[in-house]
């Protein structure tokens, strides 16, 4: 090939401001990001005009899946540890220290307490394979009620948030509300999205 003489003026562009900006944004996003917790069930919450923000701490979330399963979650590792111990005592199940430790870092779960032992040793992939049908909450085996009661005994500051799917039947929602009322919870929150229009 014949040699081509390139023009002297270099085509190099000063990228410094762009890089500065990119790193600024990277830093910003790194510091503000809070990773979405890996939930066992994805719910599509209904929208509302309410603009009250959900607090980050002292929150107990009861997620209701479209097929009527109930998932329970509380925040705070110390709380989770204590509540699991008490539930273990109540149902005569002993959890090993490593299982308790695993439980404290989990998010919500929807299993009877007997099955928790099976879930806890698993890694993230294994947990996904176990189908979670919800915490039992019928009148003969009302574990959800016990979870709520022990959690509130552990931390009376807990605010209760109910996160239902759009398609959830009112029947399940009513059952959850009834259980809350049995536990003398008459004030709770419903998690919603902000409505897009108006």
């Amino acid at each position: 090939m014949p040699k081509v003489s390139y023009p002297r003026s270099s085509p190099v562009l000063d990228m410094t401001p762009m890089v500065d900006l990119a790193f600024l944004l990277v830093t910003f996003f790194m510091l503000t990001t809070k990773f979405r917790a890996d939930e066992p069930v994805v719910v599509d919450t209904p929208s509302s005009v309410s603009e009250i923000k959900l607090p980050d701490i002292d929150i107990m979330t009861i997620t209701i899946s479209p097929d009527g399963g109930c998932f329970f979650n509380i925040d705070g590792q110390a709380n989770r540890e204590q509540v699991l111990m008490k539930m273990g005592e109540r149902y005569n199940i002993t959890f090993t220290p490593s299982e308790v430790k695993r439980f404290t870092v989990l998010t919500s779960f929807g299993l009877p307490i007997a099955d928790l032992k099976r879930l806890l040793p698993l890694d993230e992939e294994g947990r996904k394979k176990i189908s979670q049908k919800g915490v039992p909450m019928d009148s003969t085996n009302n574990q959800l009620s016990d979870w709520i009661r022990f959690s509130r005994l552990q931390n009376p500051q807990f605010r209760i948030a109910v996160k239902g799917d759009r398609e959830t039947d009112y029947k399940t929602v009513k059952r959850v509300i009834d259980i809350l009322q049995e536990n003398k919870v008459n004030k709770f929150n419903l998690i919603t999205n902000l409505e897009q229009t108006n």
Binding site: F29, T32, K53, K174, K187, N189, L190
Partner: protein, 201 residues
């Protein structure tokens, strides 16, 4: 870019003369920038900005006996029934109700509620106007709005839902309560008479 770099690496010794002329103090920032943008994209896509919002619900305390129950004026109560397939029915009073079918759009239930609750609604809207114009401050607004909503002659709404109605409709109706400034409402169990009523209409 990448191709150019490999050429430099591979044939660098053969035509070294040409390359030496070009030597400069510039560092090739391309990989760094690539990385920066990769991270930027990653964090932008994984970030959840919109925190979930919540609405507060106060359930009526379940009375231990009949005597504790409050009696309310019939003319002030309006019952909203939620049924299957987004069916919404409302009726006023208790005796000989005339159920009316409606929907959850702005011209449906909301229109009825605003009309029935005009006493409270007009005052609440006037209050909001003065907040928007800056005459009053937000804490003051909230306090006064609370007072207005507790008006003894304001509308009382009873929300009753069939078991096969979906949760979204319930939230929508609760939302209407906020929009129409109804302070006194409750989620109550549906009665067999009302189930019959909603199925017939």
């Amino acid at each position: 870019m990448a191709q150019l770099n490999t050429e430099q690496g591979g044939g660098g010794k053969k035509d070294g003369k040409v390359k030496q002329k070009k030597s400069s103090t510039h560092i090739d920032m391309t990989p760094m920038v690539d990385l920066a943008f990769l991270l930027l994209t990653f964090f932008m896509l994984t970030t959840t900005f919109s925190k979930p919002k919540t609405m507060e619900v106060n359930m009526p305390v379940k009375p231990d006996n009949e005597e504790q129950q409050q009696k309310v004026a019939e003319s002030l109560t309006l019952t909203v029934l939620l049924g299957k397939d987004d069916k919404v029915v409302w009726y006023q009073g208790v005796d000989n109700p005339t159920p009316m079918i409606t929907d959850l759009s702005a011209t449906g239930l909301r229109k009825t509620l605003i009309q029935k609750n005009s006493r409270v609604f007009t005052r609440a809207e006037a209050l909001r106007d003065s907040l928007n114009k800056g005459f009053i401050k937000t804490p003051d607004y909230k306090k006064r709005l609370g007072e207005i909503k507790q008006d003894k002659l304001g509308l009382i709404v009873l929300i009753k839902s069939m078991e096969n109605a979906n949760y979204e409709n319930l939230v929508d109706v609760l939302d209407e309560m906020a929009v129409c400034h109804i302070g006194r409402y409750a989620i109550v169990d549906i009665t067999p008479v009302e189930i019959e009523m909603i199925e017939k209409i």
